[in-house]
Symmetry: C2
Subunit: 361 residues, 2 copies
Amino acid sequence: MSNRLFNFCAGPAALPEAVLQQAQTELLDWQGKGLSVMEMSHRSEEFTSVAETAEQDLRDLLNIPSNYRVLFLQGGASQQFAQIPLNFMPEDGSADYIDTGIWSAKAIEEAARFGHVNVAASAKAHDYFAIPGQNDWQLSDAASYVHYTPNETIGGLEFGWIPEVGDTPLIADMSSTILSRPLDVSKFGMIYAGAQKNIGPSGLVVVIVREDLLGAARASCPTMLDYAVAAKNGSMYNTPPTFGWYLAGLIFKWLKEQGGLEAMERINKVKQQTLYRAIDNSELYSNPINPADRSWMNVPFRLADDRLDKLFLAGAEERGLLNLKGHRSVGGMRASIYNAVTQQAVDALVAYMAEFEKQQG
Amino acid sequence: MSNRLFNFCAGPAALPEAVLQQAQTELLDWQGKGLSVMEMSHRSEEFTSVAETAEQDLRDLLNIPSNYRVLFLQGGASQQFAQIPLNFMPEDGSADYIDTGIWSAKAIEEAARFGHVNVAASAKAHDYFAIPGQNDWQLSDAASYVHYTPNETIGGLEFGWIPEVGDTPLIADMSSTILSRPLDVSKFGMIYAGAQKNIGPSGLVVVIVREDLLGAARASCPTMLDYAVAAKNGSMYNTPPTFGWYLAGLIFKWLKEQGGLEAMERINKVKQQTLYRAIDNSELYSNPINPADRSWMNVPFRLADDRLDKLFLAGAEERGLLNLKGHRSVGGMRASIYNAVTQQAVDALVAYMAEFEKQQG
């Protein structure tokens, strides 16, 4: 019955079909209770159970230590860019930021409105095609925290390693890489991720924060932006985005059914290898990123002649390969191959790329 | 096929069954495009059309003048409590607030963190059972705006009139009354409403703001909380809550199909009359609110003997009448009868109330 096509959108991104099917089945009548999960009080026994199960499944998947709190918030990563300094940097304080592309630049720009930002390292010297090695980082003693962006969704640059920053809390925007493989959460002060890539629908942001960092928000921090308030109220200081939280829970269950993050790592590894190999072995396509720093989730590529872009995209759409156009700031193509994008989808893309290249012969 | 019960939840609240059915039908494949509306880029042609149509339908329903902007934001009304002073009150400024119950008190408490709040009138003198008449309001000349809560969701108190505040912008938290009847938007500087009562699912808040008030946010206002930034970017400074926006659009269409807000006014008028009459004509049930100030949407009532509460609620659940328990801060019962709650649901509730009263003899 399914007319579902292959969706390479960078976000809001493809969701697992099985998850959408379950949501569809119970959309008007959740578990025989006579109402939709969207129509329930967030404080009801039923929704509380949905919410707690989702958190526990995420804890299981990421093996989150018990001294970390998991928060289900709103406003996307962009709101976090302000919340982070408001919660962790004193009025006259400073923080270290690593600049690896468009999303880290946005985080830097917003933080600079609230205090001193020390750009401890930048990929600019490498034209944003390679991640600056840790030996070249100029971390500062005064920093309240070190912020970095493990995966740049637009540039297609990804850290294959976790920075060592001593006792300074490490904060990471994991929006487009979280849950793509196992992660040692204990290395971080805080992790945050907009849901609309690997977690669920847009309008939800997940924060994983070390408990001892809470409670030092500035007096000028809006109550809704204070992590300690959210933690104290189980992310229900006010009505949370219940449908997004529910759907995230379904996705966490689905990830467990796939075999957890070890299994996702194996699957995602093959997917990205398939695609990068196809790019590297062609005359027509290219990806500029230093091979060791290539993203597993967002694969930008260019055609040797950008006058072919439109033709490539039109042919892709005809074959049911959607949303391959690159970000407007970069041009070219981008295939986002998140957890819900299957090997079958990647194989179909690679087959089309070969076919198209042959046609151009 | 429907096992749908009658849902009197205060929020997240009942949604129209026809809307849920449409969402269900197209959940995996929106309009034959091969993907869910949740899986689309917010900047795609398809979603842009969803978003713009929703805004236009809301403009049609409320007859919103062209010098007002409509914003689709996140964080609920509670985040607005901070955004309002951050956008409209200078650092050393002040604003007038009207205190009519728990939600206005929360707005006051948060605003007081950002400047001077003059409580120009309070329902406290009436034990929060009546709205203070405008003749008793002590508005101040220095106020940047006047804030009030047209409907108190918990107390069950509603303004049947719009305050006259001269040239000072009037700001209203319409979360639990918006779209229940026609409204003269031109009387307001800004209206805001959490979606999860009469607009859609939780995680979305709609703001209607007069254009000339934009652009004066404090330097310390987070970018994501600046209405001018949201307005300039068509509520897409970052990824908006796309599914909530889509569902709100379906509800706006459904309201038009019902005959618009004039029709909803007629329907809602009869619904509340049915319920208040049943309360007033009984020996067992009572509602303490001054009749002229009774809410059309949230009807709290008590049983003469609160030891009967549990029995009443158990019997209600047996008959498929859900979520009648009053807010924990007030006790007793509360029936929220928003737009999606039908006359049939109210009739079923009233019939059960009579049956229960008879049983108690």
